[in-house]
Symmetry: C2
Amino acid sequence: MSTMGDASLSEKTGHALVDDIAAKIRERIMSGDIPIGAQLRQAELASDFGVSRTPVREALRQLQTGGLIDVVPNRGAVVRVPAPWEVREAYEVRAELEALAASRAVTRLSRAEMDRLRTANQEMYDRSLAESEAGSARGHSSRQENDVFHTTITTVAQNARLARTIDEINETFPRNVSAQLLVGDDRYREENFREHAAIIDAMERGDAVAAADAMREHVRKAGEHLAQWYERRSSTVFRG
Amino acid sequence: MSTMGDASLSEKTGHALVDDIAAKIRERIMSGDIPIGAQLRQAELASDFGVSRTPVREALRQLQTGGLIDVVPNRGAVVRVPAPWEVREAYEVRAELEALAASRAVTRLSRAEMDRLRTANQEMYDRSLAESEAGSARGHSSRQENDVFHTTITTVAQNARLARTIDEINETFPRNVSAQLLVGDDRYREENFREHAAIIDAMERGDAVAAADAMREHVRKAGEHLAQWYERRSSTVFRG
DNA sequence: CATGGATTGGATGGATCCAATCTAGAGAAC
DNA sequence: GTTCTCTAGATTGGATCCATCCAATCCATG
């Protein structure tokens, strides 16, 4: 019965096999596998994962509180289509949080981590450039490298709550969209690279306020780009 | 059958009768009706609300992702007991967010709202003073007035995401605890009143950075007080 | 008398069943 | 030909059933 799409469900490690399903659904949405605006049918997801509808429902509740999907009472769940102004609002908050993270990171960054940031930034630039020329549909690796930059800073900041809050914001918007921006627009890629470098420089100087300011502006600018992307594709469904 | 504790469940307004249950459980925890560290038994909650266990389970999932409760795989859910360092972390984040809210509020505050803030602050001071002298167990009204101050600022800030993020942090910690601080300690009450006044003054002057700084410091100080409260009662269960 | 293992009770988690609701499509009336 | 209505299918949401797992108790044995 059922297609049994993934075998990794047979984890008896003890904890959370419902959370697994939530994570998988989230990943499908994040990667663009499930497009924004799409309907999420419980029965389909259940058979996909080889489980009953019950854990799927609970997983959907989690995603609902996360804000990634909308659950209309008797009409099921749909992947939320962010309005441009929502993106701006979210990124204004994220900017402030990441600025705080950068500020905290200044006094905690080790030499090794600093180097890691620089290489990650360089890698991201090179890869997104390569992917742009290759014309690959979606930026896989360059997105990961871009994530490395931000996640290392939030990790070094040593504030679990801060990291979690930033994550919650990021998990509201599918990643593949923001990833496309990196490989798509040459000007934006260049800009992104230089802003990252400026942040690293400020942190290396030990200038907390400069690092915070640079980070805040960087995130806000990224948010503006993302918002404009959603504006252009306002009524169009992505990858329908 | 069952006690049918609340009749308001029969809402056919269309949306979310599961969310209602989540809200009720949350309220019970917030008010201290269900103490921190207490076990939440699904069957008990279900019969309390006159529903089956299914919606209760989903509600618990929501509270889990909110961080208010811990769900251990086969051992049920318990109200989370915040560690002092968690309080400090959370309030450092909240401080930054409320600072942003105050900053944004400066250019958006109307005359009427400004007055409302002042009266709310005064009311809170008077009531918490009265409640302190009356020796009432928990601060009901003074807490509400204190909330009014912060919520009006976040509302005026006109950023739904920001308001929601702040709420999420607040909903991690039961309110009755922080409310007790207001009525309990004379010095803290006085300090709280003056800090609020200073924030209002800065906003009235139109000084966004001053308002943000004052707010940030105010929230951080409040967080420090709260953290110390949890430190004192570290292993003691509240209202067991 | 203490300790270790088995047993029993209770609670959670997943699956299934059933009712209520919404959507789509066919057919009739204008 | 268009529109309204009614019915049939599908889908969600709540209730119930059953297996699994954990914890505490009790008994046997050293």
